[in-house]
Amino acid sequence: MEWQQLSALPTGAAWFLATPAYQLSPHRELPETLPRGAGGFVPAISEGGLMRRQWLAFAVWVVPVALAAAEPTTTTEGEISYFKQVLPILRQKNCTGCHQPAKKGGEYVMTEFATLLKGGESGESAVVAGDPKKSNLLAQITPGKDGKAEMPKDAPALTAVEIETITKWIAQGAKDDTPASNRPQYDATHPPVYMAAPVLKSVEFSPDGTQLAIAGYHEVLLHKADGSGLVARLVGQSERIESARFSPDGKFLAVSGGSPGRFGELQIWDVEKRELKLSIMVGYDTLYGASWAPNGKMVAIGCSDNTIRAFDPETGKQVLFSGAHNDWVLDTTFSVNSDHLITVSRDMSMKLIEVKTERFIDNITSITPGALKGGLIAIDRHPTKDELLCGGSDGAPKIFKMVRTEARKIGDNANLLREFGALPGRVFGVAYNHDGAKIAAGSSSDGVGEVRVYNAMDGAVIWKVTVPEGGIYTVDFNKDSSIVAVGGFDGDVRLYNATDGTLIKRFTPVEVSGATVAAN
């Protein structure tokens, strides 16, 4: 017993008294003293302390035990299927949690078949078809004598059956048998089928005012501007369309989107020919807020990897890259003479980037922490001036001037020109009308949408309507500012009289079949 040893330490007095069994009273320690239990000295353990320490132990130890118990019943007889047997193991053991494009643990990506075989930073082939011994993947997952394997990191090793399955699959030639039908594939001849109307994230008039580009599922729908009929379906690879914006001359449509968690894509369509001119893959998640430079020479996008990029819509070449934001970038716009890019982000800020140098110039919004509640979601530029209209989580549309003219003071918000009365909830869409005299904003507040048109000069609300069917995610004025088109949660496009807010037309831009879409 520690106590006896202790009292025996300085034995000068050579006294040993009868030391009956004893216990220590429960110590009611502050939690901060917990590490004492781990490395320190506590002769006996009280109930409370014990519990806490065991909780820790629980967290550390129960994981291996529980998972080890989950022995799969997969058979390793016969031909091993990559799709049915191997891939589920990689997912189930969460290999793909870290070795995915967005994280690239060890520079190794297992979510694509080619890179799964190729391997990572070690330079060794992960999978050598027909030769398990040369396949580094197996070396990594095979446990040593102590039962521990290199991978999965900090988690129990794969079971013998799982390793055998992978080994056999490699020995049999490491074939990819993923069926082509794994995901629903759509093209112009096999357009998407809708079980229900999709949420409308983007509705925009063409510059000539004749058409509406509406973001659908796997496609952009071109409708007649008055809602009288579908003109065309631009079906593409990306399942989710975040924005569809016409070039200044109306000939092209820039579509940003992608498939969440898999890839981002910027599409450039030739509107007349209904042809996909360019598909630029960017990153591993959807792309936001495409915008055209007024000179038509650039298309900018915001990315969920917090970057801002711009591309040449002719060649697809990246012409601008900036990492100034520290959260998802949700919308972009250019200055009047195309020399600056302005972006808004979930990080609450609006940033100014110089196009030529790709340099971050300024935070246009206040940099004071907490000055803005939540992130900024949407931005539009005045048709003729470098003034920027934005909306976001605080519900209040605001206009900022692009260029700072006052000396910076900590905590100022000097670029703010006007703040409009707040809409309920979060503002998802904002737009100037053709001469900049009016602005429109759409918001979403727990299942209810609202559209407002304000006088841009004095901030007065010209009209507002409530949309009880759901939040509004996008607003746009038509060419002569007579109509405001909005879209949102319920999937319907609504056309309002821009002067008084009367509903001119409401239509569902897709045909809802209700038929079951095959699940993978």
Partner: protein, 1097 residues
């Protein structure tokens, strides 16, 4: 500084626990379970006997139990064989019934030849089931772990996606799933492509892994919800309660399992099985392990609470694992008051046999320490032990005597001073002193506890005039004051729910702010008497006035953290005894808290008192009442609570009652049937003395005078105002800093550092060393060793020593005398060896170096100086002073000359006393040579008692006139240079030449002498004192007794072992003088460092 951030320990722990739980979701039981050998089932039963399932997600967990021969019940759910089911339901091998199709069927469960039936009826499978976000989806998301604290429920969410912790905020979560980023996470057009499903199934990369699979109930549920339009039904009826079945089960043997089922009742009357979605957590995983399907595995004998929570509802059940108690037989126990039968009832139920009563010696120390914070004095011990009468009556009389005594008041004042934070940091010294004396007065008069609490809660005015107002000075912000007050007077922790609904309790975030409103309307202004005086203050917090006046200002509200709105003031639970809503908020609050109808107020205080006296509360920790921490003996706690209320909240009455119970008076010694019990009061549990008690006890037992910083000598640690003056000993042993009301501030553990400090530190050493201590007086006044030892034991341990302890003690007292005799004998023994050692030493010395001065026969100066020979054979030089070469001739018959010495001697007649003739008394011997009978003698090994820097004596024999021996600035003193001959030289006529060529022609010797020796080489070896050397020069047989003695004394002084032994003798001689004092101090030291002293047993 006070902690501004509420520390949410539970958050942290739960996060860890959840990680475990979440990852165990799909753990299947690989091994078929069997009953332990020897258990014979005589009947089985299925519960419920009828099951109705009304939609495709409906299920029911069945409980199949068996009755044993012994009458005990065992769980057979996973062992009973189900008849193959028909088309209506499926039955899993762990007894889960799921709906398959409309219809009815009967399932038969069989085990060991017995069978039981359950009838199932399924309906609603043909109609679509409307999925509710609140009622169906949220629990499924919680079970999948999406909103766990380690996942998207974390403060900042994960990977850009945040949910409310454990889904307490349905609105927020619905927004996150359906509205964030414009509805990114669901896909109504193609529900299976919804991001939330693709992630949950791991179909696309998900750091959180695979949470469900396509086709599994949770997947289908969420998919149906998306398909039905991701609706939010905030008004959906909520869970009003959950029931856990079976309640408080007893499992016969460790390793056996028990299925529990959790049934939720909703506000609209709906009752449904939620076993698979409920969170089931063991309160002690040493004893019980819980899994996600509601199976509890017992690990060893004992009992443990199991906390079940589901959608904001909480329930706890206590599982007892009986273990093998073969041979146990209850024996009727002595009953001293109502406490005892209630304790016995529990003991009997869990088959524990209590220990017997403690001895009177144990009792007297225990009760003194518990009631007065001090051990009894030796006198008090004797008085109690020797008092006539029967033990029980004596004990009860002592309890009555101690309760209310001066020390009692001091001790219990301290407890409240801890909890009310009597701390000069917040109150200044004056304010702290005022509050302490206010408390003291209340303790002394035994003010009813409810009045005491009311006085604190409603205190107004200046905190100098009305000291309890200081409570509101210390607790300044409404939220903090609310947390502190509920913790203090209700033992309820209202802090985790500041940021989210409480994870372990039913308290919601809304309730936090509703209750905080009662604390929001307290005004504080400076007391004009103390204008301008401040207390506290730091870089981030401004100082506040030293004394403040508290008042109800009738306005002010706190805002809800989440909504930013002001919520109405309201109590988290109500009782019949309400005050008018028009009263000031603090009045209403005080009325609500201190009412006898408040379910926690009286109960929490009796539990504290019980915990103080037993070391373990009936609810433990004693200030943490919650559903997941049930009392170990609810009936006992209820009885005490009732008694407390009936007595008019009389704390002394409760203390008296407890101390007079048999339960309190049990021995610390355990028996076979209770040695593993720490929670049922079957034997006393040793408790380490609190810091102040330990300090005071050491000084009391030694009878030394306490000298604490900042207070007069003799002031006890228990009397210190606060922790203002730091006493390392008290800090080490856990004296609370008084910055919160938490009992956890006082530590009672044992850690290495403080123990070592106790053993070696100054506190004990000072107390023992105090020459005026009673202990040291006792040594002087008690001549009888036996009685002395007995007295010491009584002083320190309140008992007489055992026979063996006494023997050891007496021996220790006499140890010093024995030591001295031993040391003297050792010295004498050693001295016998001395002559031999001395002879060996002498032999090792060789021929002693004895210098023979030479009598010059010729003296010549090349510069015509004059020489005058003196009686001591030295030569004085006078006359012409210039560069010179002295030539001195003498005769010697010494055989084997080994050395020559040139002495430069001082003389008053010389300038500056000489020895040189230069103005400053210096000289330079440039070259020194000797020749015998015309043959040069080669000189080596030059050595001088002093050489001037740059003029080393070696320069005198290096053949170079530029160098030489000089002695600046050691003028006026004798100096000598010695040289060894290279080879032993035979005597004859010896001619010395002393060349002195220093440039100024003045550095010549003024007085000098020449000597030779035949002593053993090297001449520089051992410089023996001249007297010793000359004595040694005399051959052994011819020495006078004086000479012999001189040599012997000199040798002894060189012998280290002799010196050591002599010192031992010297030391032990001194020790003998104080032998008993030292013995007693050693004994006292050992006693202090003994559990019997450190612990209250």
């Amino acid at each position: 500084m006070k902690l501004n951030q509420p520390f949410c320990f539970l958050c942290w722990v739960t996060a860890l626990v959840l990680t475990g739980l979440v990852l165990t979701v799909r753990g299947e039981e690989p091994v078929k379970e069997t009953l332990p050998a020897g258990l014979k089932v005589v009947a089985i039963e299925a519960k419920p006997a009828t099951v109705e399932l009304s939609h495709k997600f409906d299920y029911r967990q069945l409980l199949i139990s068996g009755k044993l021969e012994s009458g005990e019940t065992v769980d057979l759910t996973r062992m009973a064989q189900a008849s193959s089911p028909g088309s209506a339901v499926s039955v899993s091998n762990d007894g889960l019934l799921r709906a398959k199709a409309d219809g009815s069927e009967e399932i038969t469960f069989s085990y060991g030849g017995h069978s039981a039936k359950a009838a199932a009826k399924v309906s609603g499978m043909t109609q679509p089931h409307a999925v509710s976000f609140v009622r169906d989806v949220q629990p499924a998301l919680s079970r999948m772990g999406c909103n766990a604290g380690t996942c998207h429920g974390a403060k900042d969410g994960k990977a850009g996606f945040k949910l409310s912790l454990r889904g307490y905020d349905a609105l927020y979560d619905h927004r996150a799933f359906t509205d964030d980023i414009g509805g990114r996470r669901f896909n109504r057009a193609a529900p299976d492509q919804s991001l939330m499903l693709l992630k949950a199934t791991g179909s696309i990369p998900h750091v959180g892994g695979v949470r469900t699979n396509v086709g599994e109930p949770y997947y289908e549920l969420v998919r149906d919800w998306i398909n039905q339009g991701v609706k939010l039904d905030l008004k959906a009826p909520r869970v009003t309660k959950i029931d856990v079945l079976p309640f408080n089960p007893v499992v016969p043997l460790p390793g056996m399992k028990q299925q529990i089922t959790v049934i939720a009742t909703y506000a609209d009357g709906l009752v449904r099985d939620v076993t698979r979605e409920a969170f089931i957590e063991s309160g002690n995983i040493e004893i019980i392990e819980a899994n996600t399907s509601g199976v509890l595995t017992t690990l060893r004998r004992g009992e443990a609470p199991v906390l079940v929570r589901y959608e904001g509802a909480y329930a706890a059940t206590t599982i007892v694992c009986m273990g093998d108690r073969t041979g146990f037989a209850w024996q009727p126990q002595l009953v001293q008051n109502y406490i005892d039968p209630l304790v016995d009832k529990k003991l009997q139920a869990v088959k524990i046999l209590p220990s017997g009563l403690c001895s009177d010696e144990e009792f007297v120390r225990r009760v003194y320490l518990d009631l007065t914070g001090l051990p009894p004095t030796a006198g008090q011990v004797r008085e109690f032990l020797q008092a006539p009468g029967e033990s029980r009556a004596k004990r009860e009389a002592l309890v009555d005597q101690l309760i209310g005594s001066r020390e009692y008041v001091e001790h219990w004042t301290n407890k409240w001073a801890d909890m009310l934070q009597v701390n000069r940091k917040f109150l200044g010294e004056e304010g702290a002193a005022a509050l302490r004396s206010w408390i003291k007065e209340r303790v002394a008069t035994n003010q009813p506890y409810d009045q005491f609490a009311r006085d604190v809660i409603t205190a107004s005015g200046s905190n100098m005039e009305n000291p309890p107002a200081a409570y509101w000075k210390v607790n300044r912000d409404p939220a903090g004051a609310m947390e502190n007050t509920t913790h203090l007077f209700l033992a309820v922790r209202f802090n985790c729910n500041k940021c989210h609904d409480h994870p372990f309790e039913r308290w919601t975030q809304d309730q936090y702010y509703q209750l905080a409103q009662f604390f929001a309307q307290v005004g504080r202004k400076e007391d004009p008497t103390f204008t301008g005086q401040k207390v506290g203050g730091s870089a981030v917090e401004g100082a506040v006035p030293l004394v403040e006046v508290m008042y109800d200002n009738g306005s002010g509200d706190v805002k809800h953290d989440r909504t930013g709105q002001v919520v109405p003031a309201s109590f988290p639970y109500t009782h019949a005894d309400q005050s008018p809503a028009t009263a000031p908020r603090r009045e209403q609050l005080a009325h609500w808290i201190t009412s006898k109808d408040n379910q926690y107020f009286a109960k929490s205080y009796v539990n504290r008192l019980w915990g103080y006296l037993f070391g373990v509360g009936i609810i433990e920790p004693i200030d943490d009442i919650r559903a997941g921490n049930p009392p170990t003996n609810p009936e006992l706690l209820d009885a005490l609570t009732k008694d407390f209320i009936a007595s008019g909240f009389d704390a002394q009455h409760i203390l008296r009652t407890i101390c007079k119970s048999r339960t309190y008076q049990l021995s610390v010694a355990a028996n076979k049937w209770n040695d593993d019990d720490t929670i049922n009061y079957s034997h006393a549990i040793p408790r380490r003395l609190p810091a102040e008690a330990l300090y005071d006890a050491i000084y009391m037992a030694t009878g030394a005078t306490e000298k604490l910083p900042g207070v007069p000598a003799g002031f006890r640690a228990a009397q210190l105002l606060d922790g203002g003056a730091s006493v390392p000993f008290l800090d080490d042993f856990g004296k609370p800093v008084r910055e919160t009301a938490c009992e956890c501030e006082r530590s009672s553990g044992m850690v290495l550092g403080p123990i070592l400090k106790l053993i070696n530190g100054p506190t004990v050493a000072d107390a023992l060393a105090d020459p005026s201590s009673e202990l040291n007086q006792l040594v002087a006044n008690q001549p009888d060793d036996t009685k002395l030892i007995e007295e010491v034991f009584v002083r320190f341990l309140a008992r007489k020593p055992s026979a063996s302890e006494l023997k050891l003690g007496v021996e220790a007292l006499q140890a010093a005398a024995t030591e001295q005799a031993k040391a003297a004998a050792a010295l004498a023994e050693y001295e016998k060896q001395l002559p031999a050692k001395q002879a060996a030493w002498e032999a090792s010395l060789g021929k002693p170096v004895v210098w023979q001065p030479l009598d010059p026969t010729e003296m010549k100066s090349s510069a015509a100086a004059a020489f005058a020979k003196q009686d001591d054979k030295s030569i004085v030089v006078t006359g012409n002073l210039a560069k010179d070469l002295y030539t001195i001739v003498a005769k010697t018959d010494l055989k084997g000359i080994t050395g020559i010495k040139l002495e430069a001697l001082s003389d008053a007649a010389l300038a500056a006393g000489g020895p040189g003739r230069a103005q400053n008394g210096n000289f330079v011997v440039s070259e020194f040579k000797a020749a015998i009978d015309g043959n040069a003698v080669e000189l080596t090994g030059p050595s001088a008692d002093f050489s001037q820097e740059g003029w080393h004596v070696s320069g005198a024999i290096d053949g170079n006139d530029e160098t030489g021996w000089a002695i600046s600035a050691e003028f006026g003193k004798n100096h000598e240079a010695t040289f060894e001959t290279k080879a032993d030289a035979a005597g004859g006529t010896i001619t010395f030449t002393i060349s002195q060529q220093y440039v100024d022609g003045k550095h010549c010797l003024g007085k000098f002498r020449l000597s030779v020796t035949d002593g053993a080489r090297p001449l520089t070896k051992a410089k023996l004192p001249a007297l010793v050397a000359s004595a040694l020069a005399v051959p052994q047989g011819e020495r006078t007794p004086d000479q012999a003695a001189t040599i012997a004394a000199h040798y002894k002084s060189l012998d280290a072992e002799h010196a050591r032994l002599s010192a031992e003798v010297q030391k032990s001689a001194e020790q003998v003088k104080s032998a008993r004092a030292v013995g007693v101090q050693d004994l006292a030291w050992a006693l202090i460092n003994n559990p019997a002293f450190l612990f209250n047993r």
